[in-house]
Each structure stands twice: as C-alpha cells, then as structure tokens.
C-alpha cells in the first residue's frame, strides 16, 4: 500500500538571516525536495522612482546610493552618466580615471561582501565573512577618505566629483593593490578547493545558457552560464576601452561557477586599478555643468556594468529641473527571474546556497 503524502508549504522570511534583507520565499516541499517556489517582494519598497520625480536631478543622486547600498559608487556613476548624456555634459579626463578607480574598488568591495554572505549561507558561519570584510574595510576606508561616508557616498556629481581625491588616498590605494592579490590567493586557498564547498556547490542550481539570456540575467550570473557579455567590453562607457582586462567566463552555470567568476573578476579589477592609478592625470575634476540643471526635453537609456550586473537608468526629461520619469533597471531583481528554475528539484539546504550565489541586495530589488 502506498503511503499517502502531502506537500508542505514553507515560508522563509521576511525576516531571515539568509534572505539578505526583508524578502520572503514561499516554497512547496515534497519531503525535503523543493517542487515550487514563489518569491514575495515589496517589504523594502520605498517608492524611490516616484519620489525621484518630485525632486531635482541633483537631489536624486542620494536616492541612487540607497538602491544597492553595497554598490553606491557604481550606482552614482550609472545615474550621473545618464544625466550627463541627457544634458550633454562632458567629464574631464582626471574625473573619468577616478570614476574607473572607484567603480573597480566598489566592484571588489561588493564581491567581497557577496562572497562572505554566500559562505555564511553555506553554513561557514562568520569566519569567512570576517576574512572578506577585513579587505572590504580597507576599501570602505578609502571611500571614507574621499566622500566622508562609509556606506552611502553621494560622491559623484554631473560633470565630475564633489571634490578631488585627498592626498592620502593614492598611497593607501597603492598599498591595498600590492596586498590584495595575496589576499585573493588566500581566499582561494581556503575556499576554492574546500571539500565541503565543492560538494555543496558543484553542479548545484544550474542556470542553463539559454535560460540565462531569456530571463535577462546579468553580470556574474550571466557570465557564469557561459555568455560573454560585459557592458564594459560590449558597450564601453567612460574610458574602459583604454584598459587591458579579461572578461572571466565559466561554462557550467552552477553555484560554484557563480562563486568562481567573482573571484576571477576581482583579480581583473585589480589589473584595471593598477593601470588606472599608473595613468591617472592631473587636472580638473569637474566639467562645466549648470548649478540648476534643466536638461533639454528627451529621453535616455544609459547603463554600466555594476558589480551585480547591468545597471541602467531610463530618464525622461520634459525640460524642467525635475525628471519626468526616473527608472532603474535593477540587476538584482532581474537575476531572480529564473530563481524557480534554479532551485526546483533541490533540497531546502541547497536553496540558500543557490540563492546566496546570486548575490542580491533588497534595496535594489524593491526600490
């Protein structure tokens, strides 16, 4: 006689250490195996897109800090670049170099935090996280030097920066660049060949190549599935076409690949940083931009390769000092499109490993 069984519905979150913020996953279980999943969003929805429409272009920069708050510098960059495109503002050479330096530092900081929390989710409680945060702290200190903030920097302005880099910035950055590759080696030594990590991540939560493209996945998630797509290379912005770097690609699209891509990307960021620091010119850091900006009527879609993927801004101007429409293309939200396909068939314990490897920040998912 067959035993009668019943599916079990389990709520994970909204308050759960592994959901990286206030996020709810409603999963249907057959024993321990996940048969269905529904993500529930909105617990951190602040209506930023609506609020931005009521403020001037300049007043909207702090909103971008509060999207993906582990990548504030890149968010600033994406937004000011869109407005500069809309208003036709040119950026001086030195400012472009500083932008590349800060973006790549932010990428490393974001990946470090992402990897730390990912390992936390795998069950390696706190220790790897603190190893990652040891290096992230140095980057945060660098950002603190130039912007006076540790988290929401609000440092970019239309045409350049609010102020030049302080003189202690570059010496500290050079020390960091000398030591960082050694620390990445250390992470690899501790994690990449760790037997528990390998068993829990290799072949787990595969995102197939076609589905990755079709579900608008971006950034490390897309590249881990074997797609050579990086905005820095495919649609170059700022001065990225002047630097030599590789785009790391993996082929399996599993959890391990998503981890590995981030390690490899950090190494490439160090490479870009070294070139940018070497070539950093003297000069102005602020282009000519009016105090009260009124871009001509029109629209623009502008994007950068943020740490989590393609971060775009779609702005519509009606000629006034406030944007008519202010839209963020959120990589964190879109990377969750295929979450269901990645976790169905895996056990509850794997869910957190898969979910952690996508690396999302709720501030950007819910906006």
């Amino acid at each position: 006689m067959a035993i009668k069984t019943e599916n079990f519905i389990l709520n994970i979150g909204p308050q759960h250490p592994s959901t990286h913020g206030v996020f709810r996953l409603r999963i249907v279980l057959d024993g321990e195996v996940i048969t269905d999943l529904e993500p529930v969003f909105g617990y951190l929805h602040r209506g930023i897109e609506k609020l931005a429409e009521g403020r001037t272009y300049l007043q909207d920069i702090p909103f971008t800090d509060r999207l993906d708050y582990l990548g504030s510098m890149t968010n600033n960059h994406a937004y000011v670049m869109a407005v500069e495109k809309l208003a036709g503002i040119t950026v001086p050479e030195r400012a472009e170099y500083i932008r590349v330096i800060l973006d790549e530092l932010q990428r490393i900081a974001s990946h470090l935090a992402g990897l730390g929390f990912f390992l936390n989710d795998l069950g390696a409680l706190q220790t790897p996280l603190l190893y990652m945060f040891r290096e992230r702290e140095k980057i945060v200190e660098l950002f603190d030097m130039c912007s006076g903030q540790r988290l929401n920097y609000n440092y970019y302005r239309f045409g350049g920066f609010v102020q030049d880099l302080p003189e202690e910035f570059l010496p500290a950055l050079k020390i960091l660049l000398d030591t960082l590759p050694g620390f990445i080696d250390e992470y690899e030594q501790l994690i990449s060949t760790n037997e528990i990590v390998l068993i829990r991540t290799k072949g787990v939560g595969v995102l197939k190549r076609d589905l990755a493209i079709n579900s608008s996945a971006a950034g490390p998630v897309l590249r881990a599935s074997g797609i050579n797509w990086d905005i820095r290379r495919n649609d170059p912005y700022s001065i990225y076409n002047r630097f030599e770097f590789d785009i790391p690609i993996a082929k399996n699209g599993d959890t391990y690949d998503r981890y590995m891509i981030r390690i490899l990307e950090m190494r490439q960021s160090v490479r870009i940083l070294r070139q940018a620091v070497k070539d950093l010119p003297e000069g102005e850091i602020m282009g000519k931009a009016p105090k009260l900006l009124k871009p001509p009527a029109g629209e623009v879609y502008s994007r950068i390769e943020g740490p989590k993927g393609e971060l775009g801004f779609y702005l519509v101007s009606d000629g006034t000092d406030k944007p008519y429409r202010w839209r963020v293309r959120p990589p964190c939200l879109l990377n969750l499109s295929a979450l269901k396909d990645m976790v169905v068939g895996w056990k509850v314990a794997d869910l957190m490993a898969i979910f952690g490897s996508i690396d999302i920040v709720m501030g950007e998912v819910d906006r």
Binding site: H45, I213, N214, S215, R303
Partner: protein, 149 residues
C-alpha cells in the same frame, strides 16, 4: 560598441514579414501598435538577422494622452540594440499582450508595470502586484497619483 539598429531598415524587414501591420520608425525608436506588439516581438527574436534575444529593460511612462511601454532590447549574438515602444491610449483600462512567453525576463517587469501603472498584461503567467499589497488603491507612478509630499 553596441550598434543601434537602423530603424527604417528594421521597419522594412518587419513589414515584409508581417504585411499589414502599422509601424512607425522614428529616429530613435520603433513605434508599434499595442495589438501587433506580440507578433513584432516574436519576429524580433526569431529573425536570424535581428535576433533580439535579450530583453534589457521593460518599463512604462505615463503621458497625458497615453501610457507608453518601452522595450530596450539587445542582441547578445550580434551585439546590437534597439528600442521598441507602444502606446496605450485607453488610460482607463490599458491592456496589451504579455511577452513573458518570448522573454522570461519580462515576468517581473510586467508585474511591476501592472503594480505601478495599472497596465494589464494578457496571458501573463501570474499577474499580480509585486511591491504593493493587493487592495492598494491607485497606481503610484501615474501622474495623477498624488504623493504624500
């Protein structure tokens, strides 16, 4: 550099495939009628010379006469991009066919447009509010929705 497709050429290619549909090629985007949108999107992905396989961004904007739905498309195969728009003039009851069956990436973005603009997407796999709760009155990103500030 991602090349932007030439819109008059794109219009010609689509008109050949789908005779009788209304397309306007503006300098910076392709304007399609809402009824034809699904067919056009299908061809945009399937025609080998166009192959817009990646839906980069799907959003809407509220204007006084219509609600505009904006598709920012990319072809990862050819490294090209295109912007396709459609305008929903019935602002009381705006609706169009969902494109989730073409791009899975549209699922959450369509839910977002439904939530914040009140546009109904037919044949969507699970259309419901994404950020706000069911029972919330009004659509915040419409211009007639008054902010608390």
């Amino acid at each position: 550099m991602t090349a932007v497709l030439d819109y008059p050429q794109l219009k010609a290619a689509l008109s050949k495939e789908l005779p009788g549909i209304e397309i306007q090629a503006d300098g910076s985007f392709l304007l399609v009628s809402p009824e034809d949108m699904h067919k056009v999107c299908e061809r945009l992905t399937s025609l080998p010379s166009i192959q817009m396989d990646y839906l980069t961004n799907l959003t809407a904007a509220d204007y006084s006469e219509y609600i505009e739905i904006i598709f920012h498309l990319n072809s990862i195969t050819h490294n090209t991009s295109a912007t396709v728009k459609t305008r929903l003039t019935d602002k009381k009851n705006p609706k169009m066919a969902s494109v989730v069956d073409i791009w899975r990436g549209a699922e959450l973005q369509e839910r977002e447009i439904y939530d914040l603009f009140g546009v109904f997407f037919e044949n969507h796999i699970g259309l419901k509010r994404i950020f706000l709760w069911e029972g919330f009155e009004g659509y915040p990103l419409r211009k007639d929705f008054v902010n608390g500030h």
